[in-house]
Symmetry: D2
Subunit: 342 residues, 4 copies
Amino acid sequence: MTKFASDNVTPACPEVVEAIIEANAGSAASYGDDAWSLKLRGNLSDVFETDVLVFPAVTGTAANALALSALTPPYGKIYCHELSHINTDECGAPELFTGGAKLIPMPGDNGKLTAGKLAATVYGRGNVHHAQPATVSIAQSCETGAVYRPDEIAALSATAREHGLKLHMDGARFTNALVTLGASPAEVTWKSGVDVLTFGGTKNGCFAAEAIVFFDPQTANTFEFLHKRSGQLLSKARFVSAQLNAYISNDVWYRNARHANAMAKRLSDALAALPGIELAYPTEANEVFVRLPSHIVDKVQGDGFEINEEELDGTAARFVTAWNTEIGDVDSLLASFSKHCN
Amino acid sequence: MTKFASDNVTPACPEVVEAIIEANAGSAASYGDDAWSLKLRGNLSDVFETDVLVFPAVTGTAANALALSALTPPYGKIYCHELSHINTDECGAPELFTGGAKLIPMPGDNGKLTAGKLAATVYGRGNVHHAQPATVSIAQSCETGAVYRPDEIAALSATAREHGLKLHMDGARFTNALVTLGASPAEVTWKSGVDVLTFGGTKNGCFAAEAIVFFDPQTANTFEFLHKRSGQLLSKARFVSAQLNAYISNDVWYRNARHANAMAKRLSDALAALPGIELAYPTEANEVFVRLPSHIVDKVQGDGFEINEEELDGTAARFVTAWNTEIGDVDSLLASFSKHCN
Amino acid sequence: MTKFASDNVTPACPEVVEAIIEANAGSAASYGDDAWSLKLRGNLSDVFETDVLVFPAVTGTAANALALSALTPPYGKIYCHELSHINTDECGAPELFTGGAKLIPMPGDNGKLTAGKLAATVYGRGNVHHAQPATVSIAQSCETGAVYRPDEIAALSATAREHGLKLHMDGARFTNALVTLGASPAEVTWKSGVDVLTFGGTKNGCFAAEAIVFFDPQTANTFEFLHKRSGQLLSKARFVSAQLNAYISNDVWYRNARHANAMAKRLSDALAALPGIELAYPTEANEVFVRLPSHIVDKVQGDGFEINEEELDGTAARFVTAWNTEIGDVDSLLASFSKHCN
Amino acid sequence: MTKFASDNVTPACPEVVEAIIEANAGSAASYGDDAWSLKLRGNLSDVFETDVLVFPAVTGTAANALALSALTPPYGKIYCHELSHINTDECGAPELFTGGAKLIPMPGDNGKLTAGKLAATVYGRGNVHHAQPATVSIAQSCETGAVYRPDEIAALSATAREHGLKLHMDGARFTNALVTLGASPAEVTWKSGVDVLTFGGTKNGCFAAEAIVFFDPQTANTFEFLHKRSGQLLSKARFVSAQLNAYISNDVWYRNARHANAMAKRLSDALAALPGIELAYPTEANEVFVRLPSHIVDKVQGDGFEINEEELDGTAARFVTAWNTEIGDVDSLLASFSKHCN
């Protein structure tokens, strides 16, 4: 297991561990009626500067699929990037949870959708022969490590609204994008037209904690039944809520993401400067994708570093940094590359 | 929140907390390739004295629905007790995960199915007009707190096999039943003909840890895809596996269940001896169901104890004990009842 | 094949055959934009004395399942009689089309639900643990051949509304019930609170023609997509619409049903008068259910008549009459019974 | 309605009308136990020179979706052309009937998939994160009117088998392809590796008659339940079977398709010879796609001909000929084009 394989190889950060232990003191009401869960909604409403509805979940796959099921009828279409996690890495969960919606994979530079491409792809509303346009889903940061700027999201949202589509954001690495953008959570989401956010904690310091955040309570109308039916309503819900409360308190989430992004930048800048190596995508969050000569791959692996070229598009190697990435590990990896590239 | 509302109001026990903290040291492979997850299969194979396949899950609802989806085609029938959790308390999760299977709720004394009733209910195999008989699902201990003896399970299993049905056991309170029966995990499951067990840890000392245990690997053929697709494959799987490993080690699970059952017996025996109170079901695990005169309910509630009569069949009050139930709390409750009944 | 096996062993009646031939002259727009389909809505609106929305289908199973899918969310409950066709004879079609709704089978005298029993069965609205009460489905005439009177329907409907439920009527044998009741189509449906009717033509003189009739256009909001997605939107829709137009014109449907019912009454009255034979259910439409001594069954079968005791509840023999039943065939059957019973 | 809008605007041909009338004489067993349905399997086995299993259906959408559901698990991938009917014109029916399978739309010259492109697209077998490769679906003739040669099908099939995929053929216009190829039904299907065929009759002379044809009975193992559950098992199945029996007898299907193809060739050849008009796809069956200057479109429409440019890829006008296309109508259309193009 390489330390750069993914941000999901990481442990939970100390504050989240503390929160779990603290929440474990004695009995508490189940199924979300506990103090931690009741506080979570207020806390996230503060973070997003608007009254949100929140439903915790324990995997990003479930959280994404559930969010999509709130926005998409079974005969609906979900527009997404062809490299998106919902399209390639969830083994059909969106199809299961929506009751058979159809994902429409689209190309797009650096893993990002554009309003223009979206407008050119949507068709068939009201025509009974066609699955119906329903939802656009983007990831922030997206699968290539690139980040959507608020104006890009707003443009997508405007096009979506013109075509009667809702906008979902897969925020498995949401905080990494926030750090890069220097924008507020509100600016990156509902102020730019996002309807529902999958708010990820797992990759950035939690054990297993995601939240489906609704910016329009109306959209979440009957969602509690979809949530329960999917097996994501924990009886001991306090232990997920407690993670999230700690995660969004005291700068923990930002601190973790800042460190991860800084480590990615350090790695990316140095790799890009080496002869024979080129970045496959711009490094804008905590993922670095590089195209490598195969003899370099072999030699670096010979030094004991694992390199996975199967990720994403099959042509670039991915290195992911995280809240706990040690600068020494970055520099050791760079030393190996440097030795073999020069 | 009354302390006897459910065993899911409990915290995790110390050994499980320790295990989470221990598993949190450093990075580890994701999606079940970590050391804890890899050990879990061996550990549970030891416990069950046979080579089992194991898939962790974080809610009982998901674990039950997933187990049923491995055994039941979308046009299949699942025979279950009318009071069963899968029938009444999972908001349609079994229907979602199976793609539309039909639950056939059956009556039965004390919440238990019988082989005779099952034989009389199954019909229609091979007749294209009828949803097809596929699966029998029983809970151990069941929703009334009653326990199936191995010979009862074996009889159900024999009838099931005669009719080409698979047998699922919902073991949300499996250990409580083991303690009562004094039988081995193997005797209560595969040796009595159970094909798949939902092995519950959450109610008996874990944070959120269940496992779907297959006694016949063939049945789990393509299950890994159903598991992933349902959103129950955690990226940081080690944190569920670590809970389960600690739970089944060093007598922790038995110790917890023995205490819960002893507290239930203490409560049950004393309540049953009071004038005007009768047990609704035999107390065989960690749940006590009693029928109470309404003036008694009012008075005991007046003493600050919460009594929930809406549970299960709407006519009996349920008291659930757990690994952390304090004898003083049992005796305070009994003192209140005693004062008002005499 | 006995002539009394079912009303689906019958040919189409002459007017329907004529209509198909007439509709076959030349090309016509597809998918329901043809003249026959466009007229159908008006014709059925006349018949029902209100503006209805109509979607043709070719099987009763599809029509029922589609109608239910318009009324029931995937986490919903459908209350129905335990003997109902949707519960026992559609191999899970309602579950497929609704995305996993749960049928709640209920007992009831003569195959009919009652408002009282319905009220006593519904629970759990708004409680996230329970599949949600959504729909009541009754058959008219029902599976026993009994008929709901308008006041019985109105009582069910009132209870349904109190509990936020919609009311579906499976009218596979709708006209047989109309004839018995001497009530108008409107009185038996929307005036008694029916929201959606499966209007059957196949059993009473058509080749294969059913219609899903919405009395509240709002309920059919997005139904056109469910209809197309289910494979029930015929490209040459005119051939189903033409059948239905002919069927409801010039008294054809009433004439056919009157004859069927009269033949059933003749058979029922004579059988009931024989020693050793008793009616299992009152004969109110075109189905006769009798309980027969087994030696009588053997002897009558010895005379060349087929008797099927497996139908419905497994204890009564069913004889179904139809628009084309010949009085001579009724009398031959009766002669055989008479000979062996006396 | 233009006469060239589609081959589904056509009436049934005389032999099919006769067959319906003939089958309407008296009562017959229901649900496929009638003489016509029982003969259909033998007849189609003769046609395909192998023992086939046959399940009738009444729409191509249902037949395709059902066929795919026999080959594809709910977590499976179906590889198809991006212009294919299953991908664009069935409002999500394949997703419904398969329980959520994922269509993977692929580009390809003239609407056809190639073995090479397929091989380059398939990935992820056994990797739990990815929906699993399951099925390839091609249309014969395909949506552009082009036809797969047997060697092209065999190459696709070989690649499919290498990757563990089954091969489905959507034969809505199967006979038009047969006529073009001069190959036997067997050569174009199972001898080239097709596992399941949707055999279409509706567009080429039937009222509404399709058949799902299994060349490997093993694949159809539990299909009868999927068939019934989908609402495609007609009670009066004889009326679909009778159409198909007549259709494949006495050269009817070939005669109809030969005429349709000849009319398409006449139209295509003459249009292609006109200045300013170019064929969008080669005319190989009964569909003609041309790219037209917009002023020509206006003028021809001014002469009373309807031209639909929205079909298929939005840039070409489609003209479809059929069994009943009159040569005079072709020549009138050509005269209008000729007048305005020269």
